[in-house]
């Protein structure tokens, strides 16, 4: 029993180390330059990777800390509102340009992404369908509007990125919202039929 727990904690330590290693890798200047080399990579590779690592990292935190934090996050409301707002702000084109030239903005952006990934992980399950619907009902239409704007704008919205890059990103953003909405509806539908069967 004791040896098992020790083995378990050892693998947990390895897991934590692996997450931290990947996170520091993402933050290395050459990797950041690469993931920020195009607007599409910036928003569709760097953003999701950091959020994913935030979600993985929060699972490594002591359960005591997590349950203390969750007392401020009933139904996942605070976490989902926080991530929705974070993503909304990080979709403002000026953020992408500023992050490339202003180290403060870059640092805050990276922290906000990791934090919002963590917040999503802590909040999604406890949110339930209604709060999830509210979250997606805000985030997805907003992403569609921004994506459409990126596609339709004849002018570049970021000085540091090309127009074709911006248009490709816009299209991808619209597609992602459609897929996300479809997956979530499917998830809700299958869960309901599951409930009906029992």
């Amino acid at each position: 029993m004791i040896s098992m727990r020790r083995a378990g904690s050892r693998s947990a330590t390895w897991r934590t180390a692996a997450v931290l290693l990947l996170l520091s890798l993402m933050l290395l200047p050459p990797v950041r330059r690469m993931t920020e080399s195009s607007m599409t990579a910036h928003m569709l590779i760097q953003y999701p990777c950091l959020m994913l690592l935030g979600a993985l990292l929060v699972q490594e935190l002591p359960a005591r800390w997590v349950s203390a934090a969750q007392r401020w996050n009933e139904l996942g409301i605070a976490g989902l509102v926080g991530s929705a707002l974070t993503l909304a702000v990080l979709m403002v084109p000026r953020v992408l340009d500023l992050a490339l030239v202003d180290a403060r903005v870059e640092a805050l952006k990276l922290i906000a992404l990791v934090a919002s990934g963590a917040a999503l992980r802590l909040s999604w399950q406890r949110a339930g369908v209604v709060v999830q619907a509210f979250f997606l009902g805000n985030l997805l239409p907003m992403t569609t509007v921004v994506g459409t704007l990126y596609q339709d704008s004849a002018a570049r919205v970021c000085n540091a990125y090309r127009l074709d890059d911006q248009q490709a990103l816009g299209l991808a953003m619209v597609l992602i919202t459609i897929v996300t909405a479809a997956l979530w509806l499917l998830h809700v539908a299958t869960r309901r039929t599951g409930n009906d069967a029992t």
Binding site: W72, E74, V81, L85, R94, D97, L108, R156, N159, R162
Partner: protein
């Protein structure tokens, strides 16, 4: 639930505050928009830069701009540019035409190439000939020193990127500089009329001072 309400409120305020900061109170959503607003509030002094081009040998930019009753409309170009610089070129030609009718020579035009590697003396000369630039009105130059050029682009937030086809994309605009060598206003690369009127007004204002 009270705690959750409090933490949600705190996050909402933080989100609002960050959005307001990044958009300059919801006025500028892009870096370009912000650049134009900031310049109005805080004019940007030109850094030390030596210009080279037809009729210009190591001319100090600040000195060149200097003078009571002076204002200069500046654009950044590269002479091989097939798209936006053509608009700028013909626009500057029209500005020159409008300025030729004036008795005072308060407003000058200056095109600065950000591509000194390609834009040597003969390229600049060709560009001047292509647009029939009158050297008394419209100077065409580049900055040979790489550090000085970077300093100038950075100070004015002129961002030049590779367009993937051997050329550049850049945030083309009309920059109005006053007689004290400060960037005071930025106009769209189509707003030639507005830029000219603004340049005239500050030239007259400064001449009166």
């Amino acid at each position: 639930m009270l705690r959750t309400a409090l933490s949600t409120l705190a996050l909402a305020l933080l989100g609002w505050w960050s959005a307001a900061w990044i958009t300059r109170d919801f006025h500028a959503w892009t870096a370009e928009g912000a650049r134009r607003l900031i310049v109005i509030e805080q004019p940007v002094a030109v850094p030390k830069v030596a210009l080279a081009g037809p009729g210009l040998v190591d001319a100090d930019l600040h000195t060149w701009l200097n003078g009571a009753g002076r204002a200069t409309i500046v654009d950044f170009v590269y002479t091989r540019c097939p798209t936006v610089c053509t608009t700028l070129g013909s626009g500057f030609q029209q500005l020159q035409h409008a300025l030729a009718k004036e008795t005072t020579d308060g407003v000058k035009l200056l095109s600065i190439s950000f591509d000194p590697a390609h834009d040597d003396a003969s390229s600049l000369q060709r560009y001047a000939a292509q647009w029939r630039a009158d050297p008394n009105r419209w100077a065409i130059a580049t900055v040979r020193d790489a550090d000085q050029l970077q300093g100038l682009l950075k100070a004015f937030q002129v961002v030049v990127i590779d367009d993937g086809r051997g050329g550049y994309e850049h945030n083309a605009a009309l920059l109005v500089l006053d007689g004290r060598g400060r960037l005071v206003r930025i106009f769209d690369d189509t707003e030639f009329e507005l830029a000219l009127n603004y340049a005239r007004s500050i030239a007259q204002r400064e001449a009166g001072e």
